[in-house]
Symmetry: C2
Subunit: 242 residues, 2 copies
């Protein structure tokens, strides 16, 4: 099976925002579904890890977006793994329309954890072996960067509900992104400017928790932190116009 593989998507009615263009959170859903599907197809996905009582966990993510396609646009997500290290595997993405217009790139970094201890597991000597599926193609954009400390300009509380959670009753990656981006002034989404999103997933938030959502809004950059019930930072992100 080729190390570089394409997966097909379409911007559906529920994916667009008030500007009639696809939401960032919907693109991130396509990117993460591609990761899951590709790893499963190549026999190092969650299905195979679960037999060892392990699973993949998304640690960091960076997305650069040149434009947001409109409803009904068909697009391809191309994905390949470029690194398979002791603690992290790096998976890359290039998004292009069916007219071959590249409109986004992404880099994700993944850890394997033990489902019981919730602790990281060594990838390099793991029984599942993704290293045979590595493409010698560098990441298309800078890897997820360090995020500055935040001095919040506005905050809100967010109660985790049924709609926010996955099969584990943990908040989904997409929900964190929605909760963060919903802090921005809506006019920001009218912009056509290129943008970059950096995300760190640090801890798991659970059903029923009341999260503290903090946003620091500056010129062309916004920083976000989401804290769980115990006041620990669970999610950090930066949204930047390029």
């Amino acid at each position: 099976m080729a190390a570089i593989t394409d997966y097909k998507f379409r911007v559906e009615p529920q994916d667009i925002d008030f500007t009639s263009r696809v939401r960032l959170s919907s693109l991130i859903t396509s990117i993460l579904n591609t990761a899951g599907q590709d790893a499963d197809n190549k026999k190092f996905g969650v299905v195979d890890l679960n037999t060892a009582n392990h699973t993949w966990v998304l640690s960091r993510m960076a997305v650069e977006l040149d434009l947001r396609p409109k409803q009904n646009t068909e697009y391809l997500v191309r994905t390949w793994v470029s690194d398979w290290e002791r603690l992290l595997s790096t998976r890359n993405f290039t998004l292009r329309t069916s007219q071959d217009q590249v409109f986004a790139h992404a880099v994700t970094q993944w850890a394997i954890i033990d489902l019981e201890s919730r602790r990281p597991v060594n990838l390099s000597d793991h029984s599942i072996d993704g290293s045979g599926h590595i493409a010698d193609v560098p990441s298309p954009i800078d890897k997820p960067t360090k995020l500055a400390k935040i001095n919040p300009t506005h905050t809100r509380e967010y109660k985790v509900t049924y709609s926010d959670i996955d099969f584990n009753k943990h908040v989904t990656s997409m929900s964190y992104v929605k909760i963060a981006l919903d802090m921005l002034p809506i006019e920001i989404f009218e912009s056509d400017a290129k943008l970059r999103l950096d995300i760190h997933f640090l801890r798991e938030c659970l059903y029923g928790q009341t999260l503290q959502v903090e946003c620091e809004l500056m010129n062309d950059v916004a920083l976000f932190e989401i804290k769980n019930n115990d006041g620990n930072v669970a999610f950090k992100a930066s949204f930047k116009f390029l």
Copy 2:
């Protein structure tokens, strides 16, 4: 073009809940996307109405669900219009898996409104004519029923954010359903019982508004009301185990 038409869907990773089965809100999204697509294909959809500065508005909906399929299940949504009256058109749905197992039915009632006045428009002498696409097949379940007055057992405030709105900055049908169902105790979604949902869409809620969400939880029935900024009821629903 046949009056009865099938549209294909699949339960994607983002569609499932903590029980690993499709969320009701995701099925409703498929049902409403089918309605939009089918009406457009048959030349009486929003695309054609917009040329007369009119649009379709969903007024009432009923769904009966026998079971909730799991992730990756492929399913067909069959749709047909059974009534084209002065103020309302009735569109019906039957959902079946690709193994031909019927698992849900739905009935929706739609009005045409003028985009400027937001007032209803007469369907029977409208320049777009859906009456040629009526199938002489009755609705598969009872039409949306009257909903009893609610005596709330619990309430919450809900601030409308960017993620909740459509191209008009109005709250989407799917968001109302999510906001309502998120009021239920989560154990309800573990049940395998058949259920029925009745929904009335009464007014439009807008970006930035703080909604009052009310729920009356009884044995096997829950009633919901969502009120807009002015205290007027915008959404009513009932959720009932059958």
